[in-house]
């Protein structure tokens, strides 16, 4: 019974994410493309939730659907001078086509040659608590985590420094 519901939910989410991805690539309007990307990230969050990866689903919504989508729109908003500029002409270029074909061929070869190992579901799904404990225990990932936070802080300070006026530096 639950399996049927899971399958239906998976079908809907998969359809939404693929359709929005295609929509994002084919949209000529950058704002529409940004919203298609938003739909893809929310569908991905739904897929994570179906896999009982609740923390990843939350992060997907908070970071990709929330922050990255907002940042995309922010950028679009400050770079567009007129509303009509949002609609981009379709440029055709041979190098672009060649790149796309090469990439598609590489992915196709990799997928055709690879063997997909069916995943095994664990008996107990680790929750947010287990994830946090694993992340912050001394033998775990606390050192890489701290290094990452240091790098981010440095980037933040650097950004503030660069964005000042010439005379204030």
């Amino acid at each position: 019974m639950t399996d049927t519901y899971t399958l239906v939910a998976f079908g809907v989410l998969a359809l939404v994410s693929v359709a929005s991805a295609v929509g994002m690539l084919t949209a000529r309007n950058v704002v529409h493309a940004a919203y298609c990307l938003l739909a893809v990230s929310i569908a991905a969050a739904g897929l994570f939730a179906l896999l009982e990866a609740r923390y990843l689903a939350l992060m997907q919504v908070l970071v990709y659907a929330g922050a990255v989508a907002i940042l995309n729109l922010f950028t679009i908003m400050i770079t567009l001078r007129r509303r009509e500029d949002a609609v981009r002409p379709r440029d055709f270029s041979w190098p672009g086509l060649a790149l796309a074909v090469t990439f598609f061929a590489a992915v196709a070869v990799a997928v055709a040659g690879g063997v997909l190992v069916p995943g095994v579901e664990p008996d107990v799904f680790p929750g947010v608590r287990e994830f946090g404990e694993r992340l912050f225990e001394i033998e775990g990932w606390v050192l890489p985590f701290e290094i990452a936070s240091l790098v981010l802080t440095a980037a933040l300070v650097g950004a503030v420094w660069w964005s000042r006026e010439e005379g204030e530096r």
């Binding site: 938003l38 939350l58 659907a65 922050a67 940042l71 922010f74 608590r129």
Partner: protein
Amino acid sequence: MSPVLIATLRVLAAVGLMLLNGVVLIYMLRKVLGHLHVRLGPTELGPAGMFQTLADVVKLLTKEDPTPGMVDRVLYFLAPLIVFVPSLAAYAALPFSSSIIAADLDAGLLFTFAILSLVTLGIFAAGWASYNKWSLLGAMRSIAQQVTYEVPLLLAALPPVMIAGSMNLADIVRAQQGSVWFIVPCFPAFLFFLVAGLIEANQTPFDMSEAESELVAGFATEYASMKFGLLFLSEFSNTFVFSALMVTLFFGGWTLPFVPDALLSGVGGAVVFMIKTYLVIAVLMWVRGTLPRVRIDQLLSLGWKVLLPATLVWIVITGLAVKLGPALIGGVS
């Protein structure tokens, strides 16, 4: 009952609460603001004008719904939905009492913030699709506000989380059950949360995205009838969710001091929770009726230059107190 049926009933309960909350808040807004302005508010229809809001709902539903000719059709119709759905989902993790909670999530606080941050995307869609300068200005302000205040809001909510040691909203309430409400040890964090939350909930001293004296109705200018209704319903609902979060984080949720927990485990706790939430909303309306609207540049510099450093400092202080406090007290005794 099948799990799907239960889930559906829970969603319907949230929709019902959201609609009811909208009706109650419109009435409350008129009455509270009216008395703050030394006038009566609605008086004609029903006792103390109580049915005025119902008449307004009927009006909103039966209004003509014109679509301006130049709008971006897809986004124009989607925007009220993008605004409404996250507002509805935000009810999921709110602990009305220890047994009445739609989804008892381990990271309930994070879930609520993550979901509420999506509302802005809908507001931007509304403003951009409307093809109207005021709408677009409102949408731009709303995005700028979101970028500025998302971080201080989360940081201001962290001290209670650090003391309780959990992001589960029900656990945060339980941590306040035996001891004092977190407003006592986290008073500065409460003030930061109040300011950042007023901004996130788009409440008046900071409702830049629809400032009616400058932008007509901001992002909602081109919307009419029930599409406008959805935008406003979600706005009132966000006020409710924000107040409920404040009650949960700082005012002990469904608990009351000196009242045994057994009395407040079920419906009784939910009643206490609702009363507290509406008291917080009344205070927000009091702020709204008292203070003038700030300017957008003042708002943004307040966020970056005051609120962000202040919340960070307070987190450091709380962290030191949480880690060193027990050791110091243990050393003295």
